[in-house]
Symmetry: C2
DNA sequence: TATTGTTATACTCTATAACTATA
DNA sequence: TATAGTTATAGAGTATAACAATA
């Protein structure tokens, strides 16, 4: 069972040193966060982006698809694929704007609001798990730093609710 | 041009409030980080994971594919798709272990080392751009927090060099 | 013509399982 | 049989361009 590499290497190579470059580190942790979110929301038949969408409608009230997509940082073509199942399940309504019949105004239904609340519990649990390695102060620190990064993110403005009880 | 939503909404909805849930925030910023890395490394015909791979070989010396994959947190089947082009371009060597002919030992070539160094410059530039919103102290803070998260990450141990000049 | 939303296609990264060859 | 590596297929998330309806 020969394991020895030809050269034992120079750099300080303790196996848990985690020397990934900051950007890749962020990218990989982001993947993990997405995986956990997906796993948690799967029981509620929601994709992470769909959860975000519902939360955004709860916070902003009805929105046109254009505004919705722009705020979420998502292309209109992708937004459609999120909305169709939500509308079919009655969690969201899509009605034409009477003043500009091109626009589809999306609104959260009562059922959608309830679904959001229950899914939020699962999401919250997943988050507590994801951030188990750092305490409450550090979580706030992290959030502040991430929001600062979000500013010059190529992605988009992004905005959504936490999924807390809808006051 | 009617924009007004039916309800002006309750929550404090300044457009730049960035209220996305922490985990989704992390996930989306991670996607952005990956996109930027990819764009920067594209000119060097390297995927982010391939850059990580080269950096790891530089830091650890030759490694079996199993060890490589485990350290990177990547499935063996995926690792192959990264290695094949690298080997074809002569940036990496793949030779059978004489003592256990099942093992393929992967090593960085001189050309691979040079390529890593030049690609690292592009990656560094992309990183400065990605983290432009926060200062040096905050970057260190962020890194510390992310490494802490990495501990209980479902992903894997992960470890790689920064891409600095190979001493 | 320009804009809103829709559809179709493709790309990146990853996950899973079946297969080959060595042990 | 078990292990190291390979191949093939599929999934999630996103990007791009062409299209229909309305302005």
């Amino acid at each position: 069972m020969p394991i020895a590499p030809t050269e034992p290497t120079a750099a300080g190579s303790i196996l848990e040193e985690h020397l990934t470059s900051p950007s890749l580190l962020l990218a990989l942790l982001g993947q993990d966060a997405m995986r956990r979110l997906r796993a948690a929301l799967d029981a509620h038949d929601l994709k992470p982006r769909q959860f975000q969408l519902l939360a955004m409608l709860r916070d902003h009230g009805p929105l046109g698809q254009g505004e919705l997509g722009q705020t979420m940082g998502v292309d209109p073509s992708i937004l459609v694929t999120f909305l169709n199942p939500l509308e079919a399940r009655g969690l969201v309504t899509r009605r034409r704007d009477a003043l500009d019949r091109r626009r589809h105004v999306v609104g959260l239904t009562a059922a959608g609001g309830r679904h959001l609340v229950s899914a939020a519990r699962a999401q919250r649990a997943a988050e507590d798990d994801l951030f188990a390695g750092i305490d409450a102060d550090q979580r706030q620190q992290l959030r502040t730093l991430l929001v600062a990064l979000q500013g010059n993110s190529a992605g988009a403005p992004c905005e959504a609710g936490d999924g807390e009880d809808p006051a």
